[in-house]
């Protein structure tokens, strides 16, 4: 067992265990907090794979922003903090069948396809911000610009749905 494997095993176990808890826990807030743990463990996996930038972006965007937003969502929808009894729907059996099917296929496909492949973890500079940035701006300029458009659209849309009384109140007849 190499060093990388020694680190990977606990990280993977944590990611797996906390993901199971996200899916099964009957407390909403805990689901979000377990999600943080799972995402953090995955960030660790990214570091192991020498994807440095991706790992830090994962921590910043996912753990830092997305989950915090989700927590806001839970709080603002006044979800119960404690146990909720009806968090699961009745179609457990169907879901189980679907899941086992998906998992079975994916696992055989993926593992079968890459049983013999191996990676060396020697070159640490592969995932640094410099190299990723160069790739990003040399080949993926258009998708990158599209991302900015996407963020703008999301921003406008979120404001439309949630902000009230924009504009002069007096002219609206003060009905708010």
């Amino acid at each position: 067992m190499t060093g990388a494997e020694l680190v990977f095993v606990p990280l993977g176990a944590v990611a797996l265990g906390s993901s199971v808890l996200v899916v099964t826990t009957d407390q909403l807030v805990r689901a979000a907090l377990w999600l943080v743990v799972a995402l953090g463990a995955l960030a660790g996996c990214f570091l192991l794979l020498a994807a440095e930038l991706v790992a830090w972006v994962q921590v910043l965007i996912y753990v830092g922003a997305v989950v915090v937003l989700l927590l806001f969502g839970i709080m603002l929808t006044r979800a119960p903090i404690g146990r909720s009894v009806d968090l699961d729907s009745g179609n457990r059996v169907a879901a189980l069948v679907v899941a086992l099917g998906t998992a079975g296929t994916l696992v055989t496909v993926v593992v079968g396809g890459f049983r013999t492949a191996s990676i060396d973890l020697g070159d640490g500079s592969a995932g640094s911000a410099g190299t990723v940035g160069a790739g990003l701006f040399r080949y993926w300029v258009l998708p990158f610009e599209l991302l900015s458009v996407l963020l703008l659209a999301a921003l406008v849309g979120a404001i439309v749905l949630s902000r009230r009384d924009i504009g002069p109140r007096a002219r609206d007849g003060g009905e708010d």
Partner: protein
Amino acid sequence: MSGFFSQAQQLQAPDVAYQAVLPMLLVLGAACVSVLFEAFLPRERRWGWQVALTVVTLAGAAISLIVYGNDAPKAGVKTFSDVLTIDRPTLFLWGTLLLLAFGAVLLIADRSVEPGGAFVAQAAIRPGTLQDRVQAAKVGMQTEVFPLTLFALGGMMVFCAANDLLTMFVALEVLSLPLYLMAGLARRRRLLSQEAAVKYFLLGAFASAFFLYGIALLYGYAGSVKLADIATAAAGTNRSDTLLFAGMGLLVVGLLFKASVGPFHTWTPDVYQGSPTPVTAFMAACTKVAAFGGILRVLMGAFASTNWEWRGVLWGVAIASMAIGAVLGLTQTDVKRMIAYSSVAHAGFLLVGSIALTSKGVSGTLFYLLAYGLTTVATFGIVSLVRDADGEASHLSQWAGLAKRSPIVAGVFTFLLLALAGIPLTSGFVGKFVVFSAALQSGMAPLVVVALVFSAVAAFFYLRVIVLMYFSEPAADGPTVTVPGAFTTMAITIGALATLVLGVFPSFALDWAGAGGFTF
């Protein structure tokens, strides 16, 4: 540090064929300008400016498309480091999208049918409260719909020109997110509309996750996300083909979801019913064009060489889609839901053309998309006219005896339904004809027979509506038919006229659709 600087010097900006991508740049640029309008114009002036900007943009993009298309190289142009391909099918799809978006924007901009427009004045006001009743009567609308429409349109244009899966994914999100939002902005029946938005969003996000896993597997298989590289890898590699087909399966599921092909259509009826009717028109016409543009490009570009492996599965999907659309459409009692199931059936017919994988199949599918989109926009325009005190009277029973109240509206609607059913002298007939003959030529005779059977079944539910409109007595407290303003009249006229013209003289559009094949 020195490494960084030497890299910065090496970094070259990719070449951009500005003239070729000008329509797309215009649409996305206008979307940003439109956001600025929202930010700086006083509320009562926004509607006029937004409508003017959107219409001018669409016209400008169309003109630049025509100017470029006249002397575009037949082999197509790749630009932005090869992430976009502007070839003949792209130009045709862009033209179709711009035309259909123009029709949809006319419906979106209309303020005569529903005073103030089909969109809510302030989305953040809770439905059912006093303020909500006040705003339902108010003239203003949430004019952010216009930038969102342009964003979605820009995403669609990139989506059907994308030459690799990453660009496709980002474009898919750019086209989807605005649509999720717009689905929830109806002025009337707001809860239904919001539910449509939530459902569309959650299922859409679920489907994009599958799409993405497909991309990941294909990337693992081919070592690249470019369609051409995947095709090369599929032609000769020592990696297991199961990886290729698993990746392709997941990718195609994501695409079929967007195109509302059954059995991945579950969102379609609810979302079509709940969204504001102009948005439904936009979604039904333009999303379908973009999604099938993407499906055609992916199937032709990346998986054509392995088609004997997967074609059988897509046969099954096409049959399932036609069956679901035709059979469940018969049982519907709501006009919008019925048209939604009709769109599922049409998606099946389109898929028949898409899996022919010949140049005739491509041109037939492109023509079908144009014809179907124009008919659909006009159909939803008519649906928005039949109203009662609560807004649109979309229950079928309320349409009984409509011909006695308004012969013109009933007549036009009948014509459009006949086009959807594929009766000769309408564009629907020509579309089905070219698609099915392409499928026959590539040896899919059994599938064509099944498709013909299901077109006959589907024709039955259009006829049911026609019979209802002409041979039933109108209810005493039935709906009224609103006299449409200029915008809606124009949208319906364009759609209905095009349905007729493409049905009687289809050759010019067929020539455009068949002007050249995909470049990868």
